[in-house]
Structures are given as structure tokens and as C-alpha cells.
């Protein structure tokens, strides 16, 4: 769970505090747990706390304002001749670009992408965890992936032929 919170907040003491608070909060309110997935319930508590911290940072001016969601999606054109996306996984330096691209997403988009691609929750579970509509989850995941893809292509990688 720390890895998930660290993806939203960035690794460090603040993410550790959020996980710790989430664990204590879950322990105290264990009686109010309803549903079938205890893991999803824990992630809900931790994700919401992490997003609250991001919003607080923005209010204090520690983070730039979040880019508005709902913009027209744009597909950057691949650069011919660059290395393929498929080759990035073996390149530790290149993976830092993936991490930086993910860190540049709005917190809610980032949370949705990480909940899907890293934690493996399905769309309905993510909708419950983040307390949003299913359509919003679809949109956030797609736009988040697209933004990472565009950022990588801007670094010179090109899409695979499929």
C-alpha cells in the first residue's frame, strides 16, 4: 500500500505518514467495514488521504495547479527511428522517464492509473475506491495512459508496430 501512496504523493515521510494514518484509521473503524474486499476498503482510505494531501499542497502553493480534466485528448505523433516503447522496460534510465511522466499527471488520474495498472483493480472497484462514476474512471485511466505515452514519445521513443 505504501508503494501506491508513494506513486500519488511521491516517496518520503509524508507518504509513510499517510499509510500509517490510514492503517490506524482502518483499525479504529474496522466495525464499519462493509463489502467483500477488505483490500479495496484499505486502498480507499489510503487513496483518499493521499489525494487530500495533494490538494492541501496545491492550496499552499507547494504544487502547481492541476491541469483540468476533460480536455480533448491528443495523440502525439511517433518519431520515426527512435527506440520502441517495448524496449524501455529493460532501460533503467528510461524507466525514470515513465515515472516522471506518471508524476506529472493530475493526482486523481494518477491514482486511477496506478490502481488499475499496478494494483490490478477493475474499473468498478476503482470507482468505489475513488467514489466516482464508472465513466470518470474510464476517462481518467485512458487520459492518464495517453499522457504518459505522449511524454515518452516526446522523449524520442516510438510506438511499436502492434
Amino acid at each position: 500500500m505504501y508503494a501506491h501512496v508513494a506513486r500519488i504523493l511521491g516517496a518520503g515521510p509524508e507518504a509513510e505518514d499517510v499509510v500509517q494514518d490510514a492503517c490506524v484509521s482502518a483499525w479504529r473503524s474496522i466495525g464499519s467495514f462493509e463489502g467483500t474486499s477488505f483490500r479495496a476498503w484499505l486502498f480507499r482510505i489510503a487513496t483518499n488521504r493521499a489525494i487530500d494531501v495533494v490538494r492541501a499542497r496545491r492550496r499552499r502553493g507547494e504544487l502547481p495547479l492541476e491541469p483540468a480534466e476533460g480536455q480533448e485528448e491528443t495523440w502525439a505523433e511517433p518519431v520515426a527511428g527512435g527506440p520502441e516503447l517495448a524496449d524501455i522496460a529493460a532501460d533503467r534510465e528510461a524507466m525514470r522517464h515513465v515515472e516522471a511522466a506518471l508524476a506529472g499527471l493530475p493526482a486523481e488520474q494518477r491514482a486511477a492509473v496506478v490502481l488499475r495498472d499496478v494494483e490490478g483493480f477493475d474499473y468498478e472497484e476503482i470507482a468505489r475506491i475513488t467514489a466516482t462514476e464508472l465513466g470518470t474512471v474510464k476517462s481518467r485511466i485512458h487520459r492518464g495512459r495517453l499522457a504518459v505515452r505522449n511524454a515518452l514519445l516526446a522523449q524520442g521513443w516510438r510506438g511499436s508496430s502492434g
Binding site: 506513486r7 499509510v19 492503517c23 506518471l102 488499475r116 495512459r145
Partner: protein, 221 residues
């Protein structure tokens, strides 16, 4: 032809309704550009999943661990208890075994006095051959029979008691006259610590188990 790029992530994750999914699949068969976009999205998702997980620099659930502190004295008590119960079991079993083995021989050792504390209370009990087996190499059965006969004679004739008393003065100190003869007919209680050696052994095992379980629980935290 309208592209289906906006639905590619949901298509990849199997999150589209069945009818929309089949529409996207048909489009992908015909559109190379959308197939390329789908491959890029798939690859991007795979890269995000492959990112190394951050590791916390400290333990993140320290506040819950002290709740188990009450187990520590329980572990110590149960461990000490297991040791004590084991000692009591051994003492009890030794006395019990001594009673069983020394019961028959006690008749011949009665004159030995306090040197045999386990068999001393059984001295008069040795008059009953059926309750104890003699120690190996000790002619206990004839001695017991002899004493049993002497007891019967004591009831019958006081003179015989006097003769018997002269033969074994040690017995007379504990069983003077006809009263001693009557006591030979009463089954004596075996010398035991508590109910039974097995009771102490069961307590030993239970305490040991409790100590083991609490220790494992504490180590897990």
C-alpha cells in the same frame, strides 16, 4: 471511418459493454492506425506496471504492535508454569512409582524406619499381598504372609501379639496391640501430590503450548 481511440484503454481492460466491445474489435480489424494506438496503450500500461515499488524507510504499523504487550507476561507465566508443572509431575510420578514398586517390599523394610519415607506409610499396607508387587530379589511375599498371619493371631490371642511384638519391635511402635491389627484391614491412601501424575503432565503440556503460541504471536509482530 470513425476511430475508436477513446475506448482503447477500456477495450484493453475488458471494461466495455459487449456491443461496444464488438464494434471496437471490428474497427481494429480494419484500422491499422487504431491497432498501433492500442499497442502503444498496452505497452504504456505494461511500463507503468513494471515501475519499481517504493519501499518505506520505517515500519508503518507501530501503533498496533503495543496492543499485544499483554501477551508478554502471559508468555513468561506460561513458560515458568510449564517448568513448575513438569517438576511437580516428575515428583508425583516418582512417588506414585515408588508406592507401586515399594508396596510389597515395605513389609521387610518396615524395621528400617525413616530411611524409606515412601514406603513407611505403607508398612502396614504390606500385609495385603494383592495390592503390591514385591521388589525384585526381595522375599516380600513370604514376609507379608507371615505378618498377615501374625495379625490374625493378634486378634485371636493377646499372647501371640506379645510374641509377635518381640519379633518385630519396630512395627509395634506404630501398631500397638489390637488397634494395629485392625488397621491392617484398612486400605491406606497412596502418597500423591495432587490428583494424579497425569493431571500434572496435562498441565505441563497445556502451559507449554500456551507459551509456544504466545511466543510465536509476539515474534510475528
Amino acid at each position: 471511418m470513425e476511430h475508436v481511440r477513446a475506448d482503447l484503454s477500456a477495450y484493453l481492460d475488458g471494461a466495455l459493454p459487449a456491443d461496444r466491445r464488438s464494434e471496437v474489435a471490428q474497427h481494429l480489424e480494419a484500422c491499422g492506425a487504431c491497432r498501433g494506438s492500442l499497442a502503444e496503450i498496452r505497452e504504456t500500461a505494461r511500463l507503468i506496471a513494471a515501475l519499481p515499488a517504493a519501499v518505506p524507510s520505517r515500519r508503518l504499523v507501530p501503533d498496533l504492535a503495543p496492543r499485544l504487550n499483554w501477551l508478554r507476561p502471559l508468555r513468561s507465566l506460561s513458560a515458568v508454569g510449564a517448568g513448575m508443572f513438569l517438576l511437580v509431575f516428575m515428583a508425583s510420578a516418582t512417588l506414585d512409582t515408588g508406592f507401586r514398586m515399594g508396596g510389597g517390599a515395605a513389609g521387610t523394610r518396615a524395621s528400617g524406619g525413616a530411611a524409606q519415607p515412601a514406603s513407611a506409610p505403607n508398612a502396614e499396607f504390606a500385609g495385603r499381598p494383592s495390592t503390591g508387587s514385591p521388589a525384585p530379589g526381595v522375599p516380600a511375599a513370604p514376609a507379608a504372609t507371615e505378618r498377615s498371619t501374625a495379625a490374625l493371631q493378634a486378634t485371636a490371642t493377646p499372647k501371640a501379639v506379645a510374641a509377635d511384638a518381640a519379633a518385630s519391635p519396630a512395627r509395634d511402635r506404630t501398631l500397638p496391640g489390637p488397634t494395629g491389627a485392625q488397621r491392617t484391614a484398612v486400605a491406606p491412601e497412596p502418597l500423591r501430590i495432587g490428583p494424579s501424575p497425569w493431571f500434572w503432565l496435562a498441565l505441563t503440556v497445556l502451559s507449554g503450548l500456551l507459551a509456544f503460541v504466545t511466543h510465536r504471536r509476539l515474534r510475528a509482530h
